[in-house]
Symmetry: C2
Subunit: 172 residues, 2 copies
């Protein structure tokens, strides 16, 4: 947890109101964020204006558009606060540079990336093999607290279905 404390010390704290965006799809975003308090959603907006939620981000997590920050390209998604949030912001470059100096930071980075890839793999598996209602059950079992905090609209967008379909699924 050297990394987290480095960020806490050297990053700049920002407050985000509910509904505000931390960064926006299509824009450059060179930072990485450590979530101190609050809850956020990372989401895509497709050409035809449809929103789909990539993930929900809870406190204690490090989040950022890694590829955007790393490759200096526009972010493919937006990050928005679902509640009032307190974040600590730091340029990814700074962390990467740091990791070049310190083995233990590198190692931590590797750990973070490995666990991120685990998360993505689970998600991929679910999208590929489970029906919408199975995915919903999964979410409810995995993180019932989170489900309580979310609006049905956002849950649906996360599951990849419409709120109407989710309402139907619930009544069974």
């Amino acid at each position: 947890m050297e990394l987290q404390s480095y960020i806490a010390k050297n990053g700049t704290t920002i407050n985000i109101e509910k509904g505000q965006q931390v960064f926006t799809q299509g824009e450059l975003c060179e930072h990485v964020y450590l979530v101190k308090t609050g809850l956020l959603k990372a989401f895509y907006l497709t050409e035809n204006g449809k929103e789909t939620i990539k993930s929900f981000i809870q406190s204690g997590t490090i989040i950022g558009s890694l590829n955007a920050a790393h490759c200096q390209v526009p972010s493919t998604f937006s990050l928005e606060a679902l509640e009032q949030c307190r974040l600590v912001q730091i340029p990814l470059n700074e962390l990467l540079a740091l990791s070049k100096e310190s083995i233990s930071i590198s190692q931590e980075f590797i750990q973070i990336l490995l666990s991120l890839s685990l998360k993505k793999e689970r998600r991929e598996f679910e999208l590929l093999t489970l029906s919408a209602s199975q995915r919903f059950d999964n979410l409810r079992n995995t993180d019932p607290e989170l489900v309580k905090k979310l609006t049905q609209n956002d849950i649906a967008k996360y599951l990849g279905i419409t709120p109407v379909a989710l309402s139907r699924i619930k009544h069974q």
Copy 2:
């Protein structure tokens, strides 16, 4: 590319016949593989015996059940040769240990994990926002050569639909 040459030197070369499995879902798999030649598929088998393909692996790629190897848990997927393959095998532990000694190896690891996460993100995006036929178009545009080599069955399993549905999609 220090990592690749380390693997090439210190790993053990194995040959896999078409149809053979490199490792199997449910088993431990502590190795990571560098694909020298050939083509493979990584796939899940669900409880009800349905197969879905996670990804196709072409030569030059490093593949393995990272989480299985790292956390010493059974792999969640199998790896099978679609053509006769030549691989170089090495324990992930050995690479992780190595990365603790060498900053440049750590850095390479980080690069690999970052690009892996980019790939997964694209896949997640597609599964979440595109229809089956859009996903098929995408695949055809991104890697037409690959599509030629694959059976329609495998393409369908990769897209998350049945071969019947894929056949329908093609005729439009």
